[in-house]
Symmetry: D2
Subunit: 226 residues, 4 copies
């Protein structure tokens, strides 16, 4: 667990791209594992639910789910049960991603469930105000991603540095133990360095790496300046 949360951390959200599905997910996770071994950076992969079992058995880096539902075991056809993703090998989960926003009451339940299962919680937010709000819930990580920059190629760490700094400040004022991640538009070593310089403990990213011609090279470049 301690190792799973080690910073600086790079969390690669596989989303639902074909380039990060099935056998492609295995290859991308393997590339991430190699970068982790070569650089010592804590590399985490967050594949789709159906790929968690396979990936967690094939690579030796943390695997996170992309979402868990705020449901207890029972009659919830089609929901993502934390017990199931954990047994499949997940070490943590993203929650409240901009593409999977949750109701506040459900975010609270999900953070508590992850803590009870000794799994890492990465709570995504869209601005300083909602980051402050969720900091009171004590997730392990808050990942700030201004929605307008997601998938834009414009790094939040450069386009809106005051959002990253402001988020780090309000979160640490509420709970200094929470680590802050910077998402949205991050893809290069400069982007990541800028994020770290602003106080972030790592990055959450997706298409910038997944769609790269050579994802391993892109990951090596990403972590090259920290």
């Amino acid at each position: 667990m301690n190792n799973t949360k080690r910073t600086p951390i790079v969390i690669l959200n596989f989303k639902t791209y074909l380039e990060s599905t099935g056998i492609n997910a295995v290859n991308l996770a393997t590339a991430s594992e190699m970068v982790a071994e070569e650089t010592g950076i804590n590399m985490v992969v967050a594949p789709q639910s159906s790929d968690i079992y396979q990936l967690s058995n094939k690579v030796n880096i943390p695997v996170f789910a992309q979402h868990i539902d705020a449901v207890d075991a029972g009659g919830h056809t089609g929901s993502t049960l934390i017990e199931c993703v954990k047994e499949a090998g997940a070490d943590g989960s993203l929650i409240n991603h901009s593409e999977q926003r949750m109701k506040l009451a459900d975010i609270d339940v999900a953070v508590k469930k992850l803590a009870q299962k000794n799994m890492v919680s990465v709570l995504c937010t869209n601005n300083i105000e909602t980051s402050a709000a969720v900091a009171t819930l004590k997730p392990d990580f808050v990942a700030i991603e201004p929605p307008e920059l997601i998938g834009s190629g414009i790094p939040v760490s450069k386009a809106e540095p005051e959002i990253v700094e402001g988020t780090v400040e309000v979160i640490h004022k509420i709970d200094p133990e929470i680590s802050v991640l910077c998402g949205a538009g991050i893809s290069t070593g400069d982007d990541m360095k800028a994020a770290m310089d602003l106080g972030a403990d790592g990055v959450l990213l997706a298409s910038g790496i997944i769609k790269a011609d050579d994802p391993k090279e892109a990951l090596l470049n990403l972590v090259s300046k920290i």
Copy 2:
């Protein structure tokens, strides 16, 4: 594929019970496989997404997803992409289960996607009217489950036989190629026989088997009268 759709069919929806999660899911699928071999009945298991890969690799019976989202590959964190569940080994999917109701426009997309991928669609409905509506969309199966009987232990085939008969009638009037399943409250051989006598081609069931002391015995009993 033909084999996957063969009737009479028994589809066991694993829902999100702990008794049908992870290693328990493997055991339950193995029991289903044994019943299929011993009886020749087409037994299908529908585990949670994270268990699809493992189950499809360990048992030699069809594995269905519990749900797919009406999304194309892309930026849809936390969604269930059909390409992913298919590559994990799913041969079909439930859609519009009463615990995961979908918008009509999304049901239409999901049925089309399953057909395009040569996967079996099992479209759940709640009454005769919605069964007629979805029959026009040409799913492989329509599973009629009056919500008030789900998990009740009261079999729809006995409590409301006119719903099963009426559903079979309106569906076959629209498209005789669609098979009709009977869900909700089914657990014994008598329940299943009553369903088949009313015109159903099989059953969709869950807790009656999953929560049984001996699921394999319960499955053998279920199919004993057909």
Copy 3:
């Protein structure tokens, strides 16, 4: 009621534009009423919930809600109860608009509730397949609106005439009593005439009129060729 459903019909969806909110909604409804009086066309306005009471008291043309929820009277804070919109003066309601898509089971409930209350149901759909599906539910009107054309200024009756024709055909094959409306991109007299020539009984439209410099003139132009 008969009068409320009379065709050709023009239903003006006020959506949530400021140009059709509050006092502006009153003015727009008054313009619609004048056009109804001058031309004899059945003009219907569909304002936001909070404007229904005022409009139904100030104009003498039918007023429809934009949506009703599939809930019974009870503890449903924030929901739109059919009894409330009816008592406020609504004569019918749009349901399943592309900006307010509903679950299939809820569409079925809403159509039945509207019929029970002697209110007109206008069921929006996105393509031929979903139009056929809902025709089995016996709404008064089906309004076909390809989502990609909504608000585009490109009239579906000209850009995709085969969708309008195909929808009319499949709906009337299932139930000849259902009237078909054409939505999406309609704004001129030519657009509406093209829709009627393809078999539509009227149009459902919004921004083309609401955003016009002179909405009354725009409405007069709209109905000038039928």
Copy 4:
């Protein structure tokens, strides 16, 4: 506005009961107005959207909406636009009620929109943790309602006093300007007094009054001990 937020405050959520719809809503609002006049207590009514216009024109007490959507003016058929409910006469709105839970990002938008429009925000929460979370967003009121007690007739102020006390404490630690309301199961003068003694500034209630044989008497009893 100051007057609208004056405490002690009683907010009566009309929900979607027939006893508080249409003409019944007018009568209930009139009873509330009489109690306000007789006792000097700040009585607020929160009717359904379609009843706001009529009520705000007939009674001289604050009228709140039950919900607003986090949308800007535009193409959002069926949504509840803040500009519309304000022009209809609403002075504030409940948001995130347990029967209308919102995504965190949308709660943030709704609170900001209400402040911009000089309207009162009453943000409902389910426990101490989510109350602390939303306190950072600076709503005017936080209304704590443990979901299991809503409509139960068991007053939270007696059944779970530590939740009320704990909520008051965490909220005032974050922002002492926020007023705390106590909801769920409140119906008598004793219940309300117990709530006030625990630090609440008022109550949010519904069925206990709406379903009473004589709502005015029930309201007079409610405020009799403060």
